[in-house]
């Protein structure tokens, strides 16, 4: 089992009535009314401190991701964060999991191949290369990519990235969306033939197919827990089987929100309002924005209209206990959290690469550190061996870190 700490880098002090006053947390939240650059500087540093602390607390990897014009997560360049983390964790066995730089919005997309190669070199071969398609909000609405071209651009950029890392000769790329006459990447990654690739998705069937065909790790980045993901992940594993791949749990990654405290009751006291802040304010986005016309191909469009997935309940109507009961958040004492993660997420979804979100919404820095420390000390060690007896190899993890059995550094005392 590999367990990584994920971070969104949210604005932690949105106003009480945010979701009533503003159209959306994404694309259109007004910076000048809501945010302060000095405060944001503090957030970036807290984010880096929290992830660095997770590395010290025994996590296997640290994850950053890319969003734009988004008050719940604004690392427009995850690689800037990743480079700080790579440097800060040098000498450890912690993977730098970039979840990651978005190919369709990078121009030329070769830039992602270059920056990932840099990160792999800086980190000494500890990079996990997440290659996301990107959300419609980021790619179509903020970065202006035509919805109908989104997937085509991604597929072309993905192929270019792999070739650029591996080609022994200088080559020309005469693509539909990108033309480069002289591709000769400097630097190349340390990891050969290339760093492990994770493709994050949100349940689109065409992304399952793509992930399995390319033999990469498919990561479901969910904010609504394992129960609502079960159908989706079962469908993924069916595709894996149909295409003749083995059912290696490390083919799958999953993101889970977690809060842990001395007891279940104490977890509620400490974290309830931060969890509600996340679901009430941070996910405040008009439903239409998730599916601009043309983003889905015709067949998928027909399928989704004919069998509309039952509209997920509106999280604004739910409270902390609902989120916990439904598994959106796994919360409670170390034993409760460990057991639920193991049964619902790891075994239930057959997942080998778990990502946990431990700084949630408005959660202040000190509380985030407590959550990270307790998870690392009391939960993580009990989960790490889950798949060991089945003998699977995590081909989607940096090779020199695969055998890591225990934290490389003693859990840090005294904070980040």
């Amino acid at each position: 089992m590999k367990i990584s700490a994920f971070h969104l880098m949210p604005y932690r002090e949105l106003p009480e009535d945010f979701e009533k006053r503003y159209e959306s947390v994404w694309v259109t939240p007004p910076w000048w009314e809501l945010a302060d650059a000095r405060r944001v500087g503090q957030y970036y540093n807290w984010t880096l401190d929290e992830l660095t602390y997770a590395a010290k607390c025994g996590f296997d990897g640290v994850c950053t991701n890319e969003h734009h014009q988004n008050a719940y997560g604004f690392m427009p360049s995850p690689n800037l964060m990743g480079s700080v983390l790579a440097r800060a964790t040098n000498g450890t066995d912690v993977a730098i999991v970039q979840m990651g730089a978005t190919l369709p919005t990078s121009n030329p997309p070769l830039r992602v191949a270059e920056e990932y190669a840099m990160l792999d070199c800086i980190s000494g071969g500890r990079l996990v290369a997440g290659l996301p398609l990107g959300s419609p909000m980021d790619v179509n609405l903020c970065y202006g990519i035509t919805p109908m071209e989104h997937r085509e651009r991604y597929r072309e950029a993905f192929a270019l990235t792999l070739k650029a890392w591996q080609a022994r000769e200088v080559f020309a790329w005469n693509g539909r969306y990108c033309q480069l006459a002289t591709v000769n990447l400097w630097p190349r990654p340390i990891q050969q033939p290339h760093p492990p690739i994770w493709v994050p998705g949100s349940g689109s069937v065409s992304t399952f197919d793509f992930a399995v065909e390319h033999d990469v790790c498919y990561c479901f980045l969910s904010y609504s827990g394992a129960r609502s993901a079960k159908t989706m992940m079962d469908a993924y594993w069916r595709v894996v089987a149909e295409k003749g791949r083995d059912l290696n749990p490390y083919r799958a990654g999953f993101l889970q929100l977690v809060v842990v405290a001395e007891s279940d009751a104490r977890a509620e006291e400490k974290f309830a309002r931060h969890v509600e802040y996340f679901y009430h304010k941070c996910l405040h986005v008009p439903a239409m924005w998730f599916s601009p016309p043309g983003n889905q191909d015709y067949r998928s469009l027909v399928a989704s209209m004919a069998n509309p997935v039952r509209r997920a309940e509106n999280p604004k109507n739910l409270r902390y206990r609902d989120f916990v009961d439904k598994g959106y958040v796994i919360a409670g004492s170390p034993a409760t959290v460990r057991d639920r993660l193991k049964e619902e997420v790891i075994k239930g979804l057959h997942v080998g690469n778990l990502m946990v979100l431990l700084q949630i919404g408005s959660m202040p820095h000190e509380l985030a550190l407590e959550n990270i420390e307790l998870f690392g000390r009391e939960v993580l060690p009990g989960l790490r061996p889950v798949w060991d007896d089945e003998g699977w190899v995590n081909h989607w993890w940096p090779e020199r870190l695969r055998q890591r059995a225990q934290p490389s550094m003693a859990a840090a005392a005294g904070g980040a």
Binding site: M148, P286, M288, P292, P293, N295, L301, M305, A306
Partner: protein
């Protein structure tokens, strides 16, 4: 190029599918009427034969092509086109296949932009043109609403001055008792927006301002006085850049004046095109 022909006896609208672009793009063309050729380019919500076209068909032979991707069973053909230039060339090929050397052209919204681009690229093809609330320009103070991102109810209120008018009901059928029919209508509309959106995302200004001086034909601009999607101020934007243009504002109409006031719009369009 190849063509398959069929007729729909109920409405006497002839239907044929013409293949262009190295046999990769199939375009269905609805035709009706007699008299000089008139080509109608539909807007972002798909082609439906309507009373406005019926009215024009009494004086012209109306040919209404479906934009690539919106023809049934040819949804993926649009992927063979990379941009507006490809689309304009497709329509040039289509005109040739229809045997049209020159004609009068009418276009609505996205189709108005296509008609105007065609007139700029091939000035001799267009004898006169009537553009109904065309896209093509962008003014920062008068942002065009991105109709593709509106909820269906909002979209309806942005297209029609009266969202309860017959044309609005027809474009947005109720689902009561006919879930499958309503879902099919929604699929058709979303796909039509996606395929036409391919050529104008994210801002519907694709350089017409550099090319519009090439338009040689007299142009009528028809605008609904209460267009909530593209402000009528854009009529002046077109008129100011064309050599020979006239503006007609239609009262009691939104972004689809030819659907809300079909008789009035058909009359002014016919009178203008017949001159």
């Amino acid at each position: 190029m190849s063509a398959a022909v069929g007729t729909s006896s109920a409405s006497e609208v002839q239907e044929r599918t013409i293949t262009v672009w190295q046999d990769r793009v199939r375009i269905r063309v609805l035709s009706k009427g007699r008299g000089p050729s008139l080509v109608f380019f539909h807007g972002p919500w798909g082609l439906t034969w309507d009373p406005f076209l019926d009215e024009l068909a009494q004086h012209f032979t109306v040919h209404a092509p479906e934009h690539p991707g919106t023809t049934p069973d040819a949804h993926d053909d649009v992927y063979h086109l990379d941009g507006l230039w490809d689309l304009v060339l497709c329509y040039d090929e289509l005109m040739t296949a229809l045997g049209i050397k020159s004609a009068v052209m009418v276009g609505h919204s996205f189709g108005g932009m296509v008609a105007c681009e065609l007139a700029a690229a091939y000035p001799d093809r267009t004898r006169r043109q009537a553009l109904i609330a065309p896209l093509g320009f962008w003014r920062d103070p008068d942002r065009i609403v991105n109709w593709m991102m509106l909820e269906p109810g909002e979209l309806r209120r942005h297209i029609f001055r009266d969202p309860e008018c017959d044309a609005a009901r027809q474009m947005f059928p109720r689902s009561d008792g006919h879930e499958a029919g309503a879902a099919a209508a929604r699929v058709r509309m979303v796909w039509a927006m996606g395929t036409t959106g391919k050529f104008i995302w994210p801002i519907p200004d694709k350089g017409l301002k550099k090319r519009i001086h090439r338009v040689a034909s007299p142009t009528l601009l028809v605008w609904g006085g209460e267009d909530r999607l593209i402000s009528p101020v854009y009529a002046e934007e077109f008129a100011g850049r064309l050599r020979d243009a006239r503006v007609q504002i239609v009262g009691d109409a939104g972004h689809a004046p030819h659907l809300e006031q079909p008789a009035t719009v058909a009359r002014v369009v016919r009178e203008f095109l017949s001159q």
